[in-house]
């Protein structure tokens, strides 16, 4: 009888823990999104549905500027890190020095704060003003850490006969790269580009250290607003941000990129 009870307890326990975990992860987000539709500024009392905070959001120039900065930085960081990362993977495997890609593991392993002070010190040392340039540089460093393992995983899986055949048939390295490799690598390029774009949009640490006094990304803007206390407009930005990144994650999941990264860690 006791054994039976114990079994029943164990059987019920697991779904309960899972349920609580999901509640724990989602409760704050749901409450936050819900109150972005609240009519009043007093955060806890529900006064009725309204979109006024979203309206205000699009009338605040600082937010739109910050959004623009975030998008530009994410776009450039994505392009640079995917291009450089792919060239590096292809070249290092062709030169049979694939072990060099272990150098880039540091980008994933080290805490972001370390990379942030590194970039801050380079830009300060050469007296380059902080801004778009330092942000793009920093996000590219983070991006390379993800692009290289993902593209490499795909590249190693490819049949080497394909490139060898192309080279034997007289195509140059450049031609082989363009006509044979690039199309084959495309899925991994797209998924790593999406990943870097999301990471760059979400990043706070690099932006906090390296954005300088004039340029502000969205996450730094939200951070500085939170320091001033609760405000429904932050709820509204956060809700939109959430919607956007969940779309990106949906695409990423359908490309199975997360499995690839996880199996590589």
């Amino acid at each position: 009888m006791v054994e039976e009870n114990k079994k029943l307890f164990l059987r019920l326990m697991q779904p309960l823990i899972v349920g609580f975990t999901y509640l724990f992860l989602y409760l704050p987000i749901i409450v936050m999104v819900l109150f972005s539709f609240n009519k009043t500024k007093v955060s806890v009392h529900w006064e009725g549905f309204s979109l006024c905070w979203y309206k205000q959001l699009f009338q605040t120039p600082e937010i739109l500027d910050a959004l623009q900065v975030s998008l530009i930085v994410a776009l450039f960081a994505t392009i640079i890190s995917v291009v450089l990362g792919t060239l590096f993977v292809v070249a290092s495997v062709w030169r049979k020095s694939g072990y060099l890609s272990y150098l880039f593991h540091a980008n994933i392993i080290l805490p972001e704060i370390i990379m942030a002070i590194g970039i801050l010190s380079v830009f300060t040392f050469f007296q380059i003003p902080l801004g778009y340039l330092s942000l793009i540089t920093g996000h590219t460093v983070i991006g390379l850490g993800f692009v290289i393992p993902i593209v490499r995983a795909r590249f190693v899986e490819l049949d080497p006969i394909l490139t060898e055949a192309s080279l034997d048939l007289g195509a140059s390295y450049t031609h082989t790269f363009k006509k044979v490799l690039l199309p084959l690598l495309m899925p991994s390029l797209v998924s790593s580009a999406l990943l870097v774009f999301t990471l760059s949009l979400d990043d706070f640490m690099i932006a906090f250290f390296c954005s300088g006094p004039k340029v502000q990304t969205l996450s730094v803007y939200v951070y500085s607003m939170i320091k001033g206390g609760v405000d429904p407009t932050i709820n509204a930005i956060s809700a939109l941000f959430l919607l956007f990144s969940s779309l990106l994650v949906l695409i990423l999941c359908s490309l199975r990129v997360i499995d690839q990264v996880m199996s590589h860690e």
Binding site: V18, S121, Y173, V222, V249, D259
Partner: protein
Amino acid sequence: MKFIRKLFTEETAFIFSCPAFLWEFLFLYLPLTALAMYSFFVYSPVLQKFTFSIHYYLQVLDTLYFRAILNSLILASATAFVCFIIAYPVAFFLAMRITPKYRSFFLFTLILPSWTSLVIQIYAWFFLLEKEGFLSQILYTLGILPQSAHLLNNYFSIMVGMVSCFLPFMILPIYVTLDKMDPELLEASADLGANRTDTFKRVIFPLSLPGVYTGFLLVFIPVFGEFAIPSMLGGSTYVFWGSLIVDKFLRARDWPFGAALAIVGIMLIVLIILSFVMIGRLMTHLRTIKVVKNKN
């Protein structure tokens, strides 16, 4: 001209790999090396030059700074431990109980919160826990808490934020190892007369340890360097390694000392990763010895 073209075709691969390499060196390895050097020299006004000294490293041993580093170590270990306790049953449930059809949905919903901006996740907790916030109001109406209870700015709120932000990084690697496990092993264990508890203890858990190690590192390292969560959910009560770095680099502008702190932090992280690898090797080694002995 011909020579240049020849050089180019032969060394294309080399030239292609250069930019990423340069980028990595210029923006990661070089500055870190420079900071490491910087932290070993002290400017003395008397001699009007830099002299080698471990002055800054002795300063790190100062109670205030030492305690901040210790705080970070404790917080990171505690978060990793709590995450492990919650994550294991969840990962087990996802890998063993859910049919593959629904798994991707569960995984997607699990990953989703941690892929939005960290700042937004923290703001969500801030909004929930704040003095007049949603949770304290509910707990007040239920009669659990007195009016105006402080749910923010304590160790509990920091831990809650940390665990909710980094929990998926513990669940996923454990899930991956459990998912990859050969079901025949479990059948073999059952055929050999082991009950469910024994199978879990002797087969499933030991085989899932690599995932646990990975998860531990994936949680421990970012929590150790985190600065936004303590500063937003913890107020100014607790000082951590990350907040010291921010203070030394952005506010006090005491770069050599900040560099020394950073180097000490990196050393600690490397030490922890190495000890984890060692523990993992030792465990497998001991297990083999045990199996061999049992055979004899």
